[in-house]
């Protein structure tokens, strides 16, 4: 079979998957269903990456976006108070504005695609990219590689700090677990007084 035709077939398959599921993300009124449809969008994008010969980026897409970020989104939905029963819909005014911005965005992308000089290099079989990436990371780009871990630590500490204050305020607000505790966490003794107070 012609490799061009096969690749084109897969390209259209993944494109249909991305566009269709992205439409469902917007159109579903139940936000949990939107999150589930997002899975297919992200997976289709991973398929496009692989078709472009970027195998490492494709696997990263599956690992981080599907395995991590999507789970985070679902968690966020479930943490939000009663967000699952909220009917999501837009008013007519936002519909008009959305249509205008969609048309403008499409026009910009269309002209960018038409005006870009596309160079063709002919058909070349894609080679695995993980090994060259690893070699470059550990030799040429060693300092950025180590700085990535610093960035990750900063992100982790910042996120934990922000959420910790959320947890504390949520606990202070809710009457059931209100114990007047501090940031360092409840010891069982402190929480036992909380239970006794509740029993009164």
């Amino acid at each position: 079979m012609n490799p061009y035709a096969l690749e084109a077939a897969f390209f259209y398959l993944f494109s249909a998957m991305i566009i269709g599921s992205a439409l469902l993300v917007v159109l579903f009124r139940n936000i949990v269903r939107s999150a589930f449809a997002l899975f297919f969008t992200l997976f289709g994008v991973a398929g496009i990456y692989v078709l472009l010969g970027a195998d490492f980026v494709g696997v990263t897409q599956v690992l981080i976006y599907i395995g991590g970020v999507l789970i985070l989104i679902v968690f966020g939905v479930m943490l939000t108070h009663r967000s699952y029963s909220v009917d999501m819909f837009n008013r007519l005014g936002t519909l008009v504005m959305g249509a205008v911005s969609a048309i403008v965005t499409f026009t910009i992308i269309y002209y960018a695609v038409r005006r870009a000089p596309w160079y063709s290099v002919g058909y070349k079989p894609a080679l695995p990219t993980t090994q060259p990436i690893g070699k470059e990371l550990l030799t040429t780009y060693l300092l950025p590689f180590e700085l990535v871990s610093v960035l990750l630590v900063l992100a982790m500490i910042g996120a934990a700090y922000l959420i910790r204050s959320e947890v504390t305020t949520a606990r202070e607000r809710s009457p059931i677990t209100k114990t007047g505790d501090n940031d360092s966490g409840l010891t069982p003794e402190v929480s036992s007084t909380g239970v006794k107070e509740r029993g009164k």
């Binding site: 968690f75 090994q131 990436i133 990371l137 550990l138 590689f145 934990a160 959420i163 966490g185 909380g194």
Partner: protein, 132 residues
């Protein structure tokens, strides 16, 4: 060669999806449709379900999920390292050791600040069990 490997993964996914879909379709064709109240209720390990199953989660799950995403990204950086480890040698080992030790500082921080503790809930649970 690379595309052949990915296409075998793709075939694996397609077979998995088709397998489940066909099984459910056959079950739908064969089974009798007699819904009643007990049958339509949620299954909770044989217990009678109380309330709505879509409860709001404890926000502490979110901290755990965020820390998981951070270490997910770390694992992605370890993949290319593992592929070239043999050809580069021991210097690669020390490079990645520094990478991981820096991340362990963040882990030590969240551990030390009690973000990973579940004892808060455990204490409440124990007390309410004693009362019963």
């Amino acid at each position: 060669m690379m595309m052949i490997n990915f296409s075998s993964a793709f075939i694996f996914i397609v077979v998995g999806v088709v397998f489940v879909a066909v099984t459910l379709l056959i079950a739908r064709l064969v089974r009798p449709a007699e819904p009643n109240v007990v049958k339509m209720s949620n299954y909770e390990c044989g217990e009678d379900p109380i309330g709505y199953s879509w409860i709001t989660f404890n926000i502490r799950f979110y901290i755990i999920a965020l820390i998981f995403v951070i270490f997910d990204v770390e694992v992605v950086f370890l993949f290319p390292w593992a592929v070239v480890f043999k050809s580069i040698g021991w210097i690669a080992f020390w490079d990645v050791l520094i990478f991981i030790v820096i991340l362990l500082f963040g882990f030590a921080y969240v551990w030390n600040m009690g973000d990973l503790d579940w004892i808060k809930d455990l204490g409440n649970l124990k007390e309410s069990e004693d009362k019963q």
